[in-house]
Symmetry: C2
């Protein structure tokens, strides 16, 4: 049978504590964030993005990054990652004992200007210093690429813009790239083609995909990315998160939706469905509004109901 190759194993990076909580209107108490992250550590994630060192005025919801990073449990085998948008943030991150920093910038100039008031080129120049600081402190640096699969102001990004950013990251010694569909506009064909092209052009890089389910296509995009050879995905428990351009839209692709689909296809993640559902339930309590994960509402596909008995036919 002509079936496309699918991997045996996939790595899930849980980003709920960072990308999920930073968009919530209320500040989640520090001790709740710590409990959330510790419970997620117990699930056995390969990596967790715990918080961000964005300026507290820009992202007040994560202003407690230092305290959270100081007090979480560190599970051996889990990589604890902090999002680092600029050099000032990196200086804060130095003392946080993170295993990894995710350097973040926007591939599109308009989004970069909107978010950070600098062009992509200016952001890359600053990230050279951030990458050096990471190296000096023995922290792995990952290269994040927001709006790589679509920008709210410019639409689709030409592949050359992705190449330009990846090349710059490569020259900084970075070997791990996150390609992000920040606003949830990518379709599976576009994801497939993009991921094939970046892998062909920069084969020494490891790639991770960050998807939002804003327009319902995130699982389709993951399926397409698996076919393109991508085996690492950012997900958020309960589908936490959202989009500043679409007030009521769904958020990050939900961890449990991804793990459920992968499990049905026989792809290992090392995570357990029921434990993820418990964590989604806690996340929902924490944010105080209903979460949009499909399997959180519908349950696992494998759960069977009691079969009916045939009735003796009535005369009619």
């Amino acid at each position: 049978m002509n079936r496309f190759h699918l991997p045996k194993e996939v790595e899930i990076v849980e980003v709920g504590p960072r990308d999920g909580l930073q968009i919530e209107s209320r500040f989640i108490p520090t001790e709740e964030k710590i409990k959330m992250t510790d419970d997620l550590s117990d699930c056995g994630f390969k990596a967790i993005q715990v918080t961000s060192v964005a300026h507290p005025k820009a992202v007040p919801q994560l202003a407690d990054a230092e305290e959270v990073m100081a007090k979480i449990k560190r599970r051996p085998g889990t990589v604890y990652n902090v999002l680092v948008p600029n050099y000032r943030g990196a200086e804060r991150a130095v003392n946080m004992n993170a295993d990894e920093w995710e350097l973040m910038l926007s591939v599109s100039d308009s989004h970069s200007i909107s978010n950070a008031n600098k062009t992509t080129k200016e952001a890359l120049k600053e990230h050279e210093k951030v990458a050096r600081l990471a190296q000096e402190n023995g922290v792995i640096a990952r290269g994040g690429m927001a709006t790589a699969l679509g920008c709210p102001f410019e639409g689709r990004m030409p592949i050359d813009k992705l190449f330009y950013v990846i090349e710059a990251y490569e020259s900084m010694g970075i070997r791990y790239i996150t390609v992000a569909d920040t606003i949830g506009v990518a379709d599976p064909k576009h994801v497939y083609e993009t991921m094939v092209q970046v892998q062909e052009k920069f084969p020494d890089m490891k790639y991770n995909l960050h998807l939002h389910n804003t327009r319902g296509m995130a699982l389709a995009n993951i399926y397409a990315a698996l076919q393109a050879g991508v085996t690492s995905f950012d997900t958020a428990i309960g589908g936490l998160g959202g989009c500043p351009y679409v007030p009521n839209a769904t958020g990050n692709v939900a961890t449990e939706d991804v793990v459920h689909m992968l499990e049905l296809m026989g792809i290992e993640t090392g995570l357990t469905f029921d434990q993820l559902i418990e964590n989604a339930s806690f996340a929902e309590q924490l944010v105080g509004h209903p979460l949009e994960s499909a399997v959180y509402k519908a349950g696992h596909s494998n759960k069977l109901h009691d079969a009916p008995k045939k009735q003796v036919k009535q005369a009619d």
Copy 2:
């Protein structure tokens, strides 16, 4: 580039008026159903499943099938389809002037017993008479296969059960099969493998796929089905519909979500996004509760926002 073949064109069968409205707790007034169907006709669907001749005691929401079929506009180029679960229903359908009947049965015995109090084999025997009646009346008969991709009581169906039903349909002169994921449990690998196998075994059949988005995988499943060569899909405007086994779950895959994804990938449906959104909005008013379509909430991926201007840097 090693990209998988995708079709240039896809046929969308709108099933909202039938599969969407039959699960609503309130009876939608007949004239509203007629307006809904007429508006959908104006969209230019290749086919619309208008109603069902299930026994009015079993499906009271569609007890007005005769009046709806008598009063809807017939757009040239649109196939008007009625769901026919049994011979008694077929006798009602004879006078409805439908272009097509969708014969319906469950591939799994337990679901067949639960829904119709007969085994799959007994249902097929009855459908022989239904297919004959269709032929005598110059109506095309389509062979529907509920639970083909998963049963709430038995789980996954062995492929031989699908072969058994398709072979029986074929012997009745039927040339068009609907494979249904009635409870939304299929994953893309399973869909791909199933659709490849049935097409290899019965290559003269035309196949249509009916998917529910209960566990968020419907668009991924459509992407997988496209790769398997399937080019016809049942969808429901606004994502109408639901699942009796999962009270709060999402319903049929939403017409506008499917058309949006296909459009991004350059696949023609003959349908217009904005017109579909208007129809989703009317459907939402009709049922009186929020619908779950992703793009109905989030808008089209191609809609751009005004780009920001870079600010002169402040001293800091």
